[in-house]
C-alpha cells in the first residue's frame, strides 16, 4: 500500500531529481509517523488523497522555482560558452592573420585574406563581448536575487 502509493506519486512528480527525492523522503516520514501513532497505511493513503493530486500539489509549490532557476542557469551557461567560443575563434583568426603578416611581403592574395580575417575576427570579438556582458549581468542579477531572499 505504502510502497505503491509512493511509487505512484513519484511517477506523477514532474520535478528535478533533488526536489523529487525530498518529496519522497517526506512521504516516507508521513507514513512512518502515522503508523507510529497507530494509524494504518490505508488510513494514511485515504487522507493523503489520490497520488497524482498529492504529486501535483507538491510539484506546483516546488516546481515553479526549480524550473525557473534551472532554465536561467542553462541560459547563462550557454551565454558563457558562447563568449568563450567567440574569444577562442577571435584569437585563432588573429593568430592566423599575424603569421603571413610577419613573413611580410604582402601579396595581393594575402591582403584580401587579412582583410577578410579582420572583419571576421571583429564579428567574433563583438559576439564574444556581447555574450560575456550578458553572462555577467545575468550572474549579478541571480546573485542579487538570491541575496534578497
Amino acid at each position: 500500500m505504502r510502497a505503491q502509493y509512493i511509487k505512484q506519486v513519484e511517477k506523477a512528480l514532474h520535478l528535478p531529481r533533488r526536489a523529487k527525492k525530498e518529496v519522497i523522503r517526506d512521504l516516507n516520514e508521513i507514513f512512518a509517523s502515522a503508523l507510529e501513532n497507530g494509524e494504518s497505511e490505508q488510513q494514511v493513503a485515504a487522507r493523503l488523497g489520490a497520488p497524482h493530486e498529492f504529486a501535483q500539489n507538491a510539484s506546483e509549490q516546488l516546481g515553479a522555482a526549480f524550473a525557473a532557476s534551472e532554465k536561467q542557469n542553462w541560459i547563462l551557461f550557454g551565454a558563457a560558452a558562447l563568449a568563450i567560443a567567440a574569444f577562442i575563434l577571435y584569437g585563432a583568426i588573429r593568430a592566423n592573420m599575424a603569421a603571413p603578416g610577419i613573413i611580410g611581403q604582402a601579396e595581393a592574395m594575402t591582403t584580401i585574406q587579412i582583410a577578410g580575417g579582420g572583419n571576421l575576427s571583429l564579428i567574433f570579438l563583438v559576439i564574444g563581448i556581447a555574450a560575456a556582458v550578458f553572462t555577467a549581468v545575468g550572474m549579478l542579477r541571480a546573485i542579487h536575487k538570491k541575496r534578497r531572499y
Partner: protein
Amino acid sequence: MDSRYVQQFKKGALEMILLCLIGKKETYGYEIITELNHHGAAVLGYAKEGTVYPILYRLQKAELIQCRIAPAAANGKKYYSLTAKGSQTLKELRSFWQKYTDCVDQFIEAYVPEEASR
C-alpha cells in the same frame, strides 16, 4: 458550512497558523498535523498532509522556514523552524491580522439587517 468563501478564509489563515506553530517550537510534520487537529479541527476542518505539505514547501521556498533532518538514531524526522525572515514576516502578519480583524469587525458590528432597523 463549507462554501467557497469559508474556504478562502481558511486558506489565507493556514500559512500564518503554520508560521505560528513552527515559531512556537521546532516541530515536524505529524506534530503540526496533530496540533492543528487538536486545536482547530472544529473550525478549520481536519488537517491533511496533502494540504499542509505544499504550504510547507512554499514557506521553505520563500525562506520563511528552514528544516533540518534529525539523526536516524533520534527519529530521522524533518524538523522545521522559522528563519529570521520568517520571524519578521510573522511579526508583520500578526500586526496586520489585528488591524484586519478590527476593521472587519467594525463593519460587522455596524451592520443591522434592514428588517430589524425598520
